[in-house]
Symmetry: C2
């Protein structure tokens, strides 16, 4: 038996939960599945977190945080066309290497409506705040142009949806997306 500090365990739980929730969504994922992936007993999760919802929230916030950082790091020190190119490339890397992060995003979005319908207003607030943080993070490097930022985010959401639907790389739906030369031409105007 490998013992860890509670904080380290919580980290493991967040990672495992992200993978599981990304696949099955909130309701399609059992706490037992998460526990199994962590390598810990199911009841122990409830000592690390007050409940399943708290685990989902933690995974959601981590997901947003990671994405914000991805873009912030990519665009660091760059501006305009160069920043755009760098951020697009960074996201391309995420698509290939961590598609579960995109899926977790999607699961987050659809979970808001459900939560709000049940009276849980806090979750939606957190997700919207995360989105605004993400928005602002790409907005400045892109020259604070609302239209350009909106297009950038739109492409991101299209990518998420295409990945969710399982379109394989190389399929014609990706044609209008790669290379990010597309973005470049757009900014030049």
């Amino acid at each position: 038996m490998v013992r860890m500090s509670a904080d380290e365990r919580r980290e493991s739980v967040i990672r495992a939960a992200t993978s599981e929730f990304a696949r099955g969504g909130y309701h399609g994922t059992s706490t037992e599945a998460i526990a199994k992936r962590v390598g810990v007993s199911q009841p122990y999760l409830f000592r690390l977190f007050p409940g399943k919802k708290a685990i989902f929230l933690a995974a959601s916030e981590r997901c947003m945080e990671d994405t914000v950082r991805t873009f912030a790091d990519a665009a660091e020190g760059l501006e305009g066309e160069e920043a755009l190119h760098a951020m697009a490339n960074a996201y391309t890397k995420v698509i290939a290497e961590q598609p579960e992060r995109l899926m977790m995003q999607m699961q987050m979005y659809v979970a808001v409506a459900a939560a709000e319908a049940e009276g849980d207003h806090a979750f939606g607030e957190a997700v919207r705040a995360g989105w605004m943080r993400l928005w602002d993070t790409v907005h400045l490097p892109l020259g604070a142009d609302v239209n350009e930022t909106t297009v950038f985010m739109a492409f991101g959401m299209l990518i998420n949806c295409l990945v969710a639907m399982g379109f394989p790389p190389g399929h014609r739906v990706w044609e209008g997306m790669y290379p990010s030369a597309r973005f470049q031409g757009r900014l030049e105007k």
Copy 2:
């Protein structure tokens, strides 16, 4: 007691299921909730459909069909900029009047990954086929320009996500989107 033909009932079930699945997703929606909304006993659903998955599939296909028709009708007899404007307006109307159709789309997309992970390849195939039908439907009126079509679809997906997250009308995230004059300027180049 109001009796209906099985086919009529199935229609009611599809409509009710769309509303319920849009909110809770596949796993977050019970067949009892659907039955209640239809006004029929829960076991009777299993006489109208072979199982819950079949209901979800039927609702998904209907959702795609409706969206394809929305765009086809809007763009009928129009081309280029005019078609773009008409389709954008049509979708704006859907956002306002039937947000559940957008949510059902999202639920469909995330359900594909889960289904595929469970070995159900057929559902994903159906959704991807629907997407391609939708793509082709907007592609021609937009002048068969891959880039324009991709941007159009991207905006659609961004809208879906913003609606899912519950951003209210008038919020600044919508700024870069309305009016669809945005689209017009884009095509003129």
